[in-house]
Symmetry: C2
């Protein structure tokens, strides 16, 4: 097991309905040392590529994306889920469904922050059905940018999101891929790492 898988086994909690709670260290309370280690691991996995921008979506992806962007020495942009009166100018817009909240969000990025010259690394904390990632891919590509890769902390391998995105030819790296979970025993089985 790698450092993230070990931490999930130690502090993650499996709940009924295939819910994995990692809110004590990843997406509500954040262990900063862990985020830094995640940042370094994505640098190791994508460091051979030319990355000019890290793209994520609010809110829980922001922490990880900050430390990935720090490793690459590039700016981070986070997509917003609501239309703010403080965003003006041309916008890149898409709609994404939320597995967690069972609703649809309009997701926007100001067009001036992603250009056709950009080589984008997309980062998020979770991948389940892939709606958020597909939205971020759509935003980056509608700007004419190149999606160099996608880095996910935890993928639910038993949902179809990861397979769909890999089938489309994208370079998707997940640090922990959960193959199965049992909320009665708390057991978590991970897919083998490459």
């Amino acid at each position: 097991m790698n450092f993230l898988e070990e931490r999930i086994v130690k502090d993650g909690v499996v709940k009924a309905g295939n819910v994995l709670k990692v809110d004590s260290f990843l997406n509500h309370q954040m262990d900063i040392a862990l985020l830094e280690e995640i940042g370094k691991e994505f640098k190791r996995r994508f460091g051979h590529k030319k990355i000019t921008k890290v793209l994520t979506i609010e809110a829980s992806g922001i922490g990880i994306a900050c430390f990935v962007a720090k490793e690459f020495g590039v700016p981070m942009v986070f997509a917003k889920k609501t239309v703010s009166i403080n965003i003006d100018g041309e916008m890149l817009v898409t709609e994404v469904e939320s597995f967690t909240h069972k609703n649809k969000n309009r997701v926007i990025v100001a067009k001036r922050f992603i250009s056709p010259d950009d080589h984008v690394l997309i980062i998020d904390d979770f991948l389940a059905n892939g709606c958020a990632l597909q939205g971020l891919i759509s935003i980056a590509e509608s700007a004419g940018a190149t999606v160099e890769g996608l880095g996910i902390a935890i993928e639910k391998g038993f949902q179809f999101g990861g397979r769909a995105i890999r089938n489309l030819g994208y370079d998707l790296e997940s640090l922990a891929i959960v193959e199965s979970m049992d909320d009665t025993t708390g057991e978590i089985v991970f897919a083998p790492q490459k």
Copy 2:
């Protein structure tokens, strides 16, 4: 002028209605080196206090709060604006009004992440009427924690939020306090720093 004031003058944009846009470096696209510098500056200003936790509110406070928490070597907790099905257990709840979005949000933190033993440093990117900060103070104090201080990147000094919080006796530090802005000339006047 300090580093943040200089950056605001260089890259901030003044819009009608007392709107200051800093979305190219602080709250949509994020300049990571700037966030790191902000983290170090808050460590300098609050380093004499015992801090056990950094508390912020999603979404744009998260980036700054990560780097402040890194400097102090403590976890960061961000308050969430919606009720997620992934949060369970006892919750600390408050309601805050948003100046930007003209609406009210229910703001929650899982109770197990803030304890009576905690010494909390509250961090956010903007302070205008102070509703978000008051909500975070209320959450921390309802948990029995001690609010050691509040660190803000940009305060709108011509709104009443900062004064109200300082009058209540809290140690509030803002790295840039905008006294006035002119959207016709783009001029920004800062309050003198201590």
